[in-house]
Symmetry: C2
Subunit: 141 residues, 2 copies
Amino acid sequence: MSRENNQKVAIADALHAGAIRVLRMVRAEDAASGIGPAQLSALSVLVFMGEKSVGELAALEQVRGPTMTRIVDGLVEKGLVRRVAMPKDRRTVRVAPTPQGRRLLLAGRMRRVRALARRLDGLSTADLKSLQYAAALIARL
Amino acid sequence: MSRENNQKVAIADALHAGAIRVLRMVRAEDAASGIGPAQLSALSVLVFMGEKSVGELAALEQVRGPTMTRIVDGLVEKGLVRRVAMPKDRRTVRVAPTPQGRRLLLAGRMRRVRALARRLDGLSTADLKSLQYAAALIARL
DNA sequence: GCCTATTAGTTAGCATAGCTATATAATATT
DNA sequence: AATATTATATAGCTATGCTAACTAATAGGC
């Protein structure tokens, strides 16, 4: 293990702790959405990346097929997504958010982001810039 | 909404997305630990913050009492924590990690952190410093 | 054109993890 | 002493994870 490698591990450790901390700060807001975390996360993928097959969703969410089937079941029951048959390959089912699904997700995300924004209040402009730059770096990892 | 406030919201948004991204990058490593995420997270609190009562743990983990009772049950069954009676107030039960619990948690954390460190490979020294600084800021939010 | 293999999704059944309501035991209050 | 409060546990519901096994559709080999 080189010195540079230890340095990277130390930074990864701090980053990991920071990510946990950030998501803990916003987690409480999700209760207001009325749906569970797995459904919320899958819906988020659909809203921000567009419609996906059940298998693609499962891969993106890092769960197995049957788990995603049931998450989608729950979302369909609540009218937040719909299943769309694919004529090309009739084995696959694409899942698309409904307007209600989109609204629910965006409202929930706004609550989370605002809760986090309030925590940034005491920071200087330079520190805000630092956070912005770091976030941009992470987006490209 | 002032311009500065919008700025903060935009940074909070990027930070939120970054936190989700970081935890997604490491999540797959947890399968190797053999225990579920709630048990792993509670054990992490006990290892890094020291022994806690069931109620304190529930508050820290943002879950209700009965949920934490069962998480602790699972950890006790696996020999990763033990319940310690408190003579001062015999209603409360303190929960302490066992040596095996400590080992399991530290090994799991190392897997996560190393997986993340590998993703930092292409970054310049300056960018690594930026991440380190940002992580330190988040730790103080 | 058929037979088999592969692929996509679902169904069934189990463990874990969240909740509320309620019970039990210990402590605090009047 | 009687009552209220507090800490945890129990019971029973829903949601979310898994593997194994099933169904339906497509792809490949002959």
